[in-house]
């Protein structure tokens, strides 16, 4: 578990950040800033590193910082690695972004008042994940202000050791047979390999905090390089629903099952309208009806896990510090289903 955490925490995206031409007041224009951004971090947190490159050339006024990729204003509360995985079908290294210090698009983006905004967004997500896993926010609510701050600072600095220390006070648990969170993130003892078939005869339910970013690709393209750029957030479907797992004896709930469960509108058999919480029932894998949508690409933390990977492994090892699993998926829906 620790190795996977290190892999996640050390992941970084090389950024090449250009000042928007409308804000350049000097000749020649300043060279772009080259920054290595932690995957688990957030773009506004990079400002102290970026600002020195451009402060002498900015027009007078108050800074209202925002980032943009190929004309698309970037949502600052989405972790940097997720933005990269989603918006760069063919990974671009370094990733060329444009920074603005003026003209915040407040009709499109929620306001960002610096690090505080990002911190509170993080803490609220942590509470939401806590609620999903435990049915209440007590773990987070009972953390003292200073503990919360310590936890947050460990994220800002991408410091895994500090994070493990702080989060031991926050019992987030791992996905096991039972969801009473006995183990903290720092505990090494509950390392029963979750991917293996369970010998205990139980059907247990658990919930995984997941945020799914779905891009419906209407055209076919051979290479990822030819994928059309995303020019509006309206082209992305954001699905923020807990994933419910029903674990059955002998069966493994895979990543593929998870995607199908989260997107029942797209996958698998039609359901009877009168359900009793049946949305969480795993669909049969291997349904290869011609009219099923095709998963062209699925990325988590910059990797493309095999769809047969057990979801418990994926969630335990690839989650973000706020305990959400962020999944970027490109889906091609056959034309019969689209309007």
């Amino acid at each position: 578990m620790k190795e996977a955490q290190e892999f996640v925490w050390m992941g970084a995206i090389p950024l090449q950040i250009h000042l928007h031409e409308s804000e350049v007041t000097t000749v020649p224009p300043p060279p772009p800033a080259l920054i290595l951004a932690p995957r688990i971090g957030y773009l506004p947190l990079l400002l102290p590193l970026i600002k020195p490159y451009f402060s002498s050339t900015l027009p007078p006024g108050v800074d209202t910082v925002w980032f943009e990729y190929k004309g698309l204003p970037l949502k600052w509360y989405i972790p940097t690695g997720v933005l990269f995985d989603l918006l760069c079908a063919e990974p671009e290294r370094p990733w060329n972004l444009t920074i603005h210090f003026r003209g915040y698009p407040s009709h499109l983006l929620i306001p960002c008042e610096g690090e505080d905004s990002v911190k509170w967004n993080f803490i609220n997500s942590l509470k939401e994940a806590d609620y999903i896993i435990n049915g209440n926010c007590k773990n987070v609510m009972h953390m003292s202000q200073s503990d919360q701050l310590e936890l947050w600072n460990s994220v800002v600095n991408a410091n895994l050791e500090a994070f493990i220390r702080s989060s031991s006070k926050l019992k987030s648990g791992t996905i096991e047979d039972d969801y009473a969170s006995k183990s903290s993130l720092s505990s090494q003892k509950s390392q029963k390999m979750i991917g293996e078939a369970d010998t205990s005869v139980q059907t247990k339910t658990g919930k995984v905090p997941v945020r799914l970013y779905v891009w419906n690709v209407s055209e076919d393209f051979g290479d990822m390089e030819d994928a059309p750029p995303i020019d509006s957030w309206d082209r992305i479907s954001y699905v923020n629903r807990p994933l419910e797992i029903h674990r059955e004896e002998g069966k493994c709930f895979t990543l593929h099952d998870a995607i199908k469960t989260l997107l029942p509108e797209l996958f698998g058999k039609k359901r009877k309208p009168k359900g009793e919480g049946n949305i969480s029932q795993p669909l049969e894998t291997g349904s290869t009806a011609d009219d099923d949508p095709e998963i062209k690409l699925l990325r988590i933390q910059g990797i493309e896990p095999k769809l047969e990977t057990p979801i418990s492994w994926v969630a335990n090892h690839l989650r973000h510090p706020e305990n959400f699993l962020h999944v970027c998926v490109y889906i091609k829906v056959p034309s019969a289903k689209s309007l």
Partner: protein, 233 residues
């Protein structure tokens, strides 16, 4: 043990089925008891067209164009239709779809604000969440500070003290735009208390759910709820 969570069937209906029974019941009762208010409507979530199938439908309850005028005393006065013209002499066209909710005590210089309310089910917290936004007669969106000025005094105080955890600006789950959100973290605790207080309920629990929820949440943003909605079968 733990917090109240609405039964599985209820949550399934609120997310997945055709205009859910509780939302419909809420809308009908509202219409019956609040003739001067615009009605709540059920809005299908369109998202990307691929998600709109015949069978399942996500959506939310929408109440738009509610005119709220800051009153000098903080009482929620009864709403009066048609008196909007007293305050909007220059904007005749905006009075047609707006309904005055609070009357001011004779202050002609008051600026009317217009609110849109959406009740959207949160799959994470398993409760409805209130999203709202406000704008002026000229269509300009209001910032959180200005909205604070129209909230009942209690809410404004709480908002001041816990800036980040009470009402925050967040992205609307479907519309990709900034809206205000009333945080649900405490909601299910309230609902539990409420349901415990109701001893014998003849009406189906689901129908009562949204009405009860709104009776707690509504006053926070200045929308009272007539007592009839809670009483009548």
């Amino acid at each position: 043990a733990g917090n109240f969570q609405f039964p599985e069937i209820g949550s399934l209906h609120l997310i997945r089925c055709y205009p859910p029974a509780s939302a419909q019941a809420f809308a009908e009762k509202w219409k019956l008891n609040n003739p001067a208010y615009p009605p709540w409507t059920w809005v299908k979530s369109l998202e990307v067209p691929i998600f709109a199938t015949n069978q399942v439908e996500e959506g939310y309850l929408s109440l738009e164009n509610v005119c709220i005028v800051k009153s000098n005393d903080d009482e929620v006065a009864s709403c009066v239709e048609g008196e909007a013209s007293l305050y909007d002499k220059e904007d005749e066209e905006s009075t047609d779809s707006a309904t005055l909710v609070q009357t001011s005590s004779g202050n002609d210089n008051v600026q009317p604000y217009y609110f849109d309310f959406h009740i959207i089910y949160s799959a994470s917290f398993r409760v409805p969440v209130l999203y709202f936004r406000a704008y002026c007669s000229d269509g300009r969106s209001l910032g959180l500070n200005e909205i604070e000025s129209v909230l009942p005094a209690n809410s404004a105080k709480v908002l001041l003290e816990s800036k980040w955890t009470f009402i925050t600006q967040e992205e609307h789950p479907y519309l990709n735009r900034p809206w205000c959100k009333l945080h649900p973290c405490g909601s299910s605790d309230w609902m539990k208390l409420l349901f415990q207080a109701v001893e014998k309920v003849d009406r189906p629990a689901m129908e009562l759910y949204l009405v009860s929820w709104f009776s707690v949440v509504g006053p926070v943003i200045g929308l009272g709820i007539p007592i009839q909605m809670l009483k009548e079968p």
